[in-house]
Symmetry: D2
Subunit: 496 residues, 4 copies
C-alpha cells in the first residue's frame, strides 16, 4: 500500500515515526474495526440507493467489504502509516478495488461522523454485553440468597457488629445495587442508539443522502439530528464510562467484603483456589488476589472517567483531535468492567461460606442490644431515647444482664426494671438473634419471609430484564443480517 492517501494533496508526507505513531489511533481502533466495515457497507448502499454513486461502483465496493465483514480485517489495515482505521480501510479499498470505486467511498461523509458512528455501534454492543453479565450476576446472587435465607450472620455498621442479619439479606443488598447499574446502562441505550452518520465533518453534506436509511441499516433507533452536535459531543461516551465507574465502585465494596471475610479473623468464606495466589516466600499463604485486583480496578476506571472529563473540558465546537484520545479510555473502562463482572460471578460461584462461623458471630458484639432497647419500649413503655440510654449504659458497665440493666435504668432514668417485671427470660429472648431477625419482617428486612418476598420480586424483575436484553440484541442482529443480505443482492444484481 502506498503512503497516506489523505495527505498527498495538502501536506508533505515526510513525518518522523514518532509523530506518526503519536497521531495514530490504530491500536485503539482495533475496537471499532468491525463496526467500521458495517458503517462502510451501510454508507455505500445508501449512496447507491440515493443515486449518488452508480450501482457498479457500489457492487465493487461491497464485494471488497463483505469479505472484511465475514473474515475480519487483514493485519495490513492496522499499519500505523494510516492515521486511523478509517484511512486504513479506505486505502485498502482503493488498492484492492481501484481508485474509481475506492475513491468514491468517502463521498458525503467525513471521518468525524464515521468514527462517532463506529463508537456508538461498538458501545451499544458492549453495553448490551454488560447488561447480560449483570443479569447473570444478579441471577447468581438471587440463587445464592435463596439457599441462605436462614444463614445467620452479623450485620455491620462502621465495621462493628451491629445487628444480626442473614447472608441472603446481605447478598440481596448487592442484587439491588446491581439492578440500578442495570437500569443506568439500559437507559443509556436510548442515547447510544442514535446514528451520527451523515453529519460529515459537522455540516452534513450537499449530496442528497438519506440519514434515516443508514441509521436503519445499522440497527439504530433514530438519528442524532444536529450534525454539529453529532460529531462534537461525547457526553454519551462519558456517561458510559461513568456508569462503569459507578458499577465498579459497588464491585469494589463487595470485593472489600470478600477480602475481609476470607481473612483469618473473620473466616466467613473460603474463596476458590483458582482466584487466589500464594506467596513467593510465605508458603502458607492463600491470598484473595482476584478480589484485590478487582477492587483496584475501581481506581483504574475512575481514572478513565476523569481522563475523559478532563479531555473534553472547554473544547470548542466542533470536532477537535483531542477526542481521539478519549476513546481508549472508553474501551478500557468497558473492558475492565466487563471482565470484573464476569470474574465476580466465577469467584462467588466457587465461594464456600462457613455457616458455623457466621452463626457464631451473629450474636456477638452486643448486636442484639437494639432489640433489647425495643423490648423496653414495647413492653415497659419507655421512650426510645431513654431505653437506648439505659442499654448503652449497661454496655458501658460491661454486661447486658438483668442486674446491670436494672442498675443502668436506675441511674439513667430513675426506674427499676426489676420492679417493672423484667426477668432473665425476657432479657434472654430479647438478646436471641433468631428472635431479632424473625421480627424484622418489614418489606426489604432480614426476616426469612421478607427476604423470600424480595427474592421473588427480584427474580421476576430479572426475567423481564433478561427478555429486554435478548430483544435488543435480536433486533440489532436482524438489522445487521438484513443489511448483509441486501448487499449480497445488490452485488448479485450487478453480476447478472
Amino acid at each position: 500500500m502506498a503512503g497516506d492517501s489523505l495527505r498527498t494533496g495538502r501536506l508533505g508526507d515526510d513525518r518522523p515515526e514518532s509523530v506518526t505513531s503519536f497521531l495514530s489511533s490504530m491500536e485503539a481502533d482495533r475496537w471499532i474495526g468491525n463496526a467500521d466495515v458495517l458503517v462502510d457497507i451501510a454508507h455505500v448502499m445508501m449512496l447507491e440507493r440515493q443515486g449518488i454513486i452508480e450501482r457498479q461502483y457500489a457492487a465493487t465496493l461491497l464485494s471488497a467489504l463483505l469479505p472484511l465483514h465475514r473474515d475480519g480485517l487483514p493485519e495490513e489495515i492496522f499499519d500505523e502509516r494510516h492515521e486511523d482505521i478509517h484511512a486504513g480501510i479506505e486505502a485498502y479499498l482503493i488498492e484492492s478495488a481501484g481508485m474509481d470505486a475506492g475513491g468514491r467511498l468517502h463521498i458525503g461523509r467525513s471521518r468525524n461522523d464515521e468514527v462517532a458512528t463506529c463508537i456508538r455501534i461498538r458501545l451499544r454492543e458492549l453495553v448490551l454485553e454488560e447488561l447480560g453479565l449483570l443479569a447473570g450476576l444478579r441471577r447468581l446472587l438471587i440463587d445464592t440468597a435463596r439457599e441462605h435465607t436462614g444463614t445467620m450472620m452479623p450485620g455491620f455498621t462502621h465495621l462493628q457488629h451491629a445487628q444480626p442479619t442473614t447472608l441472603a439479606h446481605h447478598l440481596m443488598a448487592y442484587e439491588a445495587a446491581f439492578s440500578r447499574d442495570f437500569e443506568r446502562f439500559a437507559e443509556s441505550l436510548g442515547r447510544i442508539g442514535r446514528s451520527p452518520l451523515g453529519a460529515a465533518a459537522f455540516a452534513s453534506t450537499g449530496y442528497p443522502i438519506d440519514r434515516a436509511l443508514t441509521a436503519g441499516l445499522l440497527g439504530f433507533e433514530r438519528i442524532e439530528e444536529n450534525t454539529m452536535d453529532a460529531v462534537a459531543a461525547r457526553d454519551v461516551v462519558i456517561e458510559a464510562i461513568s456508569d462503569c465507574a459507578i458499577l465498579m465502585s459497588t464491585v469494589s465494596r463487595l470485593c472489600e467484603e470478600l477480602v475481609l471475610w476470607s481473612s483469618s479473623f473473620v473466616a466467613f468464606v473460603e474463596l476458590p483456589d483458582a482466584c487466589c495466589s500464594t506467596s513467593s516466600i510465605m508458603p502458607q499463604k492463600k491470598n484473595p488476589d482476584t478480589a484485590e485486583i478487582m477492587r483496584a480496578k475501581a481506581g483504574t476506571v475512575t481514572g478513565a472517567l476523569i481522563a475523559a472529563l478532563t479531555i473534553v473540558k472547554a473544547l470548542p465546537m466542533s470536532y477537535n483531535r483531542d477526542l481521539q484520545e478519549l476513546s481508549p479510555h472508553l474501551w478500557k473502562a468497558a473492558f475492565e468492567s466487563g471482565r470484573c463482572t464476569r470474574l465476580l460471578c466465577d469467584m462467588l460461584k466457587g465461594a464456600r461460606f462457613n455457616k458455623t462461623r457466621m452463626r457464631e458471630e451473629a450474636a456477638k458484639g452486643g448486636s442484639t442490644a437494639t432489640e433489647l432497647a425495643d423490648v423496653l419500649v414495647r413492653e415497659y413503655g419507655l421512650p426510645f431515647r431513654t431505653a437506648h440510654g439505659i442499654v448503652g449504659r449497661a454496655v458501658r458497665l460491661g454486661r447486658l444482664d438483668l442486674a446491670t440493666l436494672d442498675a443502668a435504668a436506675r441511674e439513667m432514668a430513675g426506674i427499676s426494671l426489676l420492679a417493672a417485671g423484667l426477668d432473665k427470660a425476657g432479657v434472654a429472648r430479647a438478646l436471641d438473634p433468631e428472635f431479632g431477625i424473625s421480627v424484622r419482617k418489614a418489606p426489604g428486612g432480614p426476616a426469612p419471609e421478607a427476604v423470600q418476598a424480595s427474592i421473588s420480586a427480584a427474580a421476576s424483575r430479572l426475567d423481564g430484564d433478561e427478555s429486554y436484553v435478548a430483544g435488543r440484541q435480536k433486533a440489532i442482529s436482524r438489522a445487521n443480517e438484513r443489511m448483509i443480505q441486501e448487499a449480497q443482492e445488490l452485488i448479485a444484481s450487478q453480476q447478472n
Copy 2:
C-alpha cells in the same frame, strides 16, 4: 439544650471542640434541614397509624414539628454540639415537647435511613429544579436560533475554519447536548424516587412499621426495598454528581466559545457588561469573567465527582461514617450546576452577536473547499478522493482559482479541468458560502429549512419536557400538602 443526648449512655461526652466540629455534619445538613422535618412528620404519622405510639404523643410531636415546617428551623438546632441535624432536631423536640413524646420520635428508625431519605428528598427537589433550568436554557437557545437561521458564520474543526454554517445551527448543537443532559437527570428521578425510610440502621426494625405509607406521604414513588442497600448505597448520589459533571463539561465548551468569540481576534459577540469585569490596572479591559469562572466550575464539579467515587470505593456494608463526607460534594455539585445553568441563560440573553463579523469570516480560510471538491465529483465525475487531492494541492499552491485548480488536477490526476469544462463561474459558485449552506439540507444540517425543521421538533420535545417537570413537581407538592393537612387533623382530633 443539654449535651449530646445520644452519647449519654454509652460514651463519655468530653470531646474537644476540634473533634466535635470534625465529626459534625451540621454545615452540610443545612441542605436537608427542611427535608428532615418532613421525614419526621411522616414517620410520626406512620407510628401513630400503626399503633406503635399513642395518638397523644403523636399530636405533641406534630405540634412541635409543624411550626418547624412552616417557619424553618431555629438556629439553635444547627449547634455543632449535635453531631448532625437529626440529633439536633431530636434534642430540640425532647426539650420542647418533653422526653415522653420527644424520646419516642426515633422508634423504629435510625439516622442511617433518616439521612438517606433526606438526601433523596432534597436531591429530588434539586434535580427537578435543574430540569426546569435546563428547559429554560433550551427554550432560550431555540428562540435565539429561530432568529439566526440566516446568520452565516464559519464552522470550525480543530479551531480552524472548516465549512460555513449558521449561528442557528451552532446554537442548536448545544440545545441537543443539553436535551441529553435533561434526559439523564429525568431518568435518574426513577431511582431517586424510592424511599429508604424504614430501613433503620440497615436491618429494618421489629416494630410493625409501614414503609409504603411513609413513602407515599413523602411523595416517593416506591420504597428502596432491601434495607441494607437502602442505607449503604450511594450510587444514586454519585450518578447525580456525574450528571452534573457531564452537564458542566458541555457548559465549559460553550463558555470556551464565548471567551473565544468575545476576544478581539474573533469579535463575534459582545457579552453583557454585567457578566464582565475590568482590570485593576488595565483600564481598557472588558474581560469575560463569568464565562471563565463557569468554565472553571467544570473542574470543581469534576473534583466533587472524584471525591465521591474515591470516598465510596471499597467501603464494606453497611453504613460507614465515610458517607457523611460524601453529601457536601453532592450539594456543591448541584449548587454550582444550578447557578451556572441560570447564569448561562442570563449571559446568552444579553449577548449581542456581530452578524457582520460572522458573515465576513464565513467564507474565509478555504472553508468552501469541500463544496468545490464535491462539485468536481458531482459534475465532473471524479472519485472523491481524487477531487479532494486536487483541491488540497491547489490550496497548497496558494490559490483556489481556475488556473491553479487545473494545474493541480493535471499534476495529481493527469486530467485537465479546463478541458472538462470547468469555468470561473463554476468555481465561484462552488466557493460561495451561501450556496454551500443551502445545499446542506439533510436532517440536522445547516440549511435554513433543515434548521427550521430541527427547531420545530426541538420546541415540541421541549413542550413535552416542561409538562413532565411541572407534573412531577405538582405531584410532590400535593403529597406534601396532603400530609401536612392530615397532620393538622390528627392534632385537632387530639385537642377535641
Copy 3:
C-alpha cells in the same frame, strides 16, 4: 463605601446579585486577608523608597494599614460588592485615607501579582504549619514505637496473617512514610518562597520598582523572575495540593487499620471515646467515626487535586479568571490535611493497644511458615523453592507438624525430613514467633535491636527537621517584624 471603584470608568455597575456573588472570591479570600495587608505594606514602602510616591502618601497609607495588620480586617471589607479582597482593601483605604493616598496604592501593580503573592505567603505559612504537625506526628510514632519494640503482633499481606512482627516495627513504617511527606512539603518551600510581586498584570510596569526589596520585606528568598510566569503559573499550588493528597493517602491507610484494629474481630486497639460515636438506634455501638471520616477526607483532597488540574488544563497565557476558582481547592486541601494530621495525633495518643490480643494472633494463620521453610534451607540444605513447596503442601494438608511435613517432603521432593534429622523440637522452634522476629535483624527489620536502631536514627533525623522548621518560621517572622518596624519609623518620620 461606594460601589465597585474598579468598574466605574469602563463598565456599567448594575450587576444582579447572582452575578456579583458568582464573580466574587470574597469567601475564599478570608484565607489571604492578612497576607494582603502585608503585601500592601511592603508595596507602599517600596514605592516610597523608590521615589514613586511621596513620603506623605506612604505615611497616610501605612497609618491606615498598620491597624489592619494589628487588629485584623473589619468585616465591611469582605462585602461581596467588591470582587475580591484586593478591591475591598483598596476601597476601604480610599474611603478612610482619601483618594489622594488610597488612589496611589495600586501604582505599579495589578491584582494578578498581588493575589499570586498573597497565595504564596499564606501557603508558606500553611506548609510550615503542616511541617510542624508532621513533626509532631512522627515524634508521637517514634515515642510510641519505643514502648512497643517487644509488643508482638501479626504482620499482614493481602489482609492475611503473614509473618509475626512488632507494633514498633509497624508504627515505624508510618513514621517513614510521613518523613517522606515532610520532605516533599519542605522541598516545595523552595518554590513557594519566590515573590511574584512586581509582575503587575503580567508585563511588570514602567515604574522603577524594586522587586527584590518587596521580596525581602515579605520574607521571600528570591523573586519569581519572569513576570508572565509569575502571574499565570499555578503549578506550585497544584504541587501543594498533590502533596496534601499523597499525605492523606497514607493517613487513609492508617485510619483503615485503626478501623480494622478496633473491630470486634481484631480487637487490637480501643480508640478514645472522644474520637468515637455511638448509634442513634444501637445502644451498644462504639464506632470509630473519626478514623472513618479521616479516611474519607482522602477522597475530598483527591477531589481538590483533580479540580485544580482540570481547571488549569489548557489555559492560555497569562492570567485567566479561572484561576480564581483554583484557590478554594488549595485552602480546602491544606485545611483538611492540617486538621487530620492533628486529630490523628490525638487519636493515636489516646489509643489503648491490647497486647494480649496482638500476641495471641502473632503466631496464627501459619505466619511462621516462612521461617520453617528457611530452616529447611539453612539446616537441611534444600533449595528455597523446594522448601517453600514442601511447607505449602503441608499447609494444604492441614497441619504444620513433623509427620505432615515429612509426608509433604516425600511427595514434593522425594526426600524424608525425618531421616534427615528434623525433629519435633526443631519444628517447634521454627514455628515460634519470638524466634522468627529475633532473627530478622537486618536494618529496618522487626528484631528489637533493629527497630531500636531505626528509632534512634529517625529521632535524630526528626531533631534536624524540627530545627529546620523552627529556623524557617523564625526567619519569616523576623522579616515581618522588621518591616512593621520600618513602617512605623516611616510614619513617625513624617509626623515629626
Copy 4:
C-alpha cells in the same frame, strides 16, 4: 517450561485463562524486565558474599543471568502462565540452571521487595530521561527566545489583548515553568534512590543479608530502611505521576496557545507540516493535531494520577495485590510525558513565527492604555485609581484621543488634562507599544535588556542542571558496569 512453580505446594493450579490473564502483570512488567535481571544479579552476589549460598550456585545463576542482561529477556519469560516477571525469570532459571541453583534464587527475599526495587530502578531511569528532555526543551526555549527579544506581540489576560510584550518574554515564561518541573523531578530522585531490597515480604528475613551491599551494587544512594514501609508504600510512585501531571498541565497550556496561534484568526505561527493533518473531507485543512492530542494527554495523565490515588486509598499494611494495578499507570504517565516533551521540542523547532502579524496585533485592543494611565500618574500627578478611571471611561466612549481623554477627565475627576498640558504627542508616545515595552525593565519584565538578563541567568542555571543529570546518569552506569564486572569475575573464579 512447567506450570506455575510457586503454586505447586499450596494451591491447585487449574485456573481458567480468564483468571490467569486477569492476575498476570506480565504486559506491564515489560517495563521492568531488565531492571529485574539487575536485581537478581545483585541479590545473588550478595547471597554469595554473605555466605548464604555457595559460590558454585552463585556462579551458575550468574552465568544464566548475564546473558539476559546482555541480550534482553527471551519472549517465553513473558508467558502469562507466570503471574509476573519475577516468577517468569525464576522459572526460567530453574529450568535452565536446575533446581539446585535456580531454587536458591529466592532465598531471603520476596516478590514484594523485588518489585518495589525494580520499580525504583526503572523509575529512576525514566526520571533522568525526563530531566534530559526537559533540559532540551528549556534549551530550545532559551535559544528561540534569544532570537526574539525584539519580536513584539500582544500579551493577553482573559484571552483579551492586555499589554504589548515580546515573544522572548512569552517563551521565557514557559522556560520558568519547565524549570520548576525540572526541580520537582530532580528532588524526587532523592526518594527514588533508596533501595527496598532485603525487605522481603515486609519483615525482612532471618538470613544475614547485607542490604547496603545490594543497594550499592544497584546504584542506589541508600536503603529504604523500614522493611514494612519499603514494600507497602507507593507515595514515591504517586509523586512521580503527579509530577508528570503537573508538567503535562503546563504542556497543555502551551499547546492551547499553539492551537490558538495557528488558527486563521490569530495566525501568529505556522506549525510544521509533519505535526499536522488534513481532513478526510475538507481538502484545505491543516490541523494542529499534534498540539491537540498533546493537550488531551494532560487529561490522560491526570486520569493516571487519580487511578493511582484511588487504588492506594485505605489499603492496610503491608503489601496488597492492588498495588500491582498501580504500576501500569506509572508507566503510562511517564511514557506519555516523555514523548510529549520530545514532540513539543520538535514542534517548536519547526514552528515559523509570523512577526508581521504579531507586531500588527501588539498595539491593538487598547493594550497600551495602562501605560497611558501611568503617564497621567507620573506626569500629571493623578492618583492611579483616578487615572485608571479616566482612561477606562475614554475607552468606553470609544476613543483614546486627546479630546476624549480630556472629556473623560472632566467627567470622572473634574479636571482638564488639556489645561494641565497633555498634548497629542504625549498621548501618542504613551500609546506606542515600543515605548511601553522599553520602560518595563524590572527583573523578569519584557524590556529587551530585562529579557536578555533573564536569558543569561536561565542559560547558566540550565548548564548546571545538565551537568547534574549527566553526573547522576554516569554514577548509575558506573555502578552497573562495576557490578557486571564483579559478576564476571565471580563466574571466572569458579571456572578456574
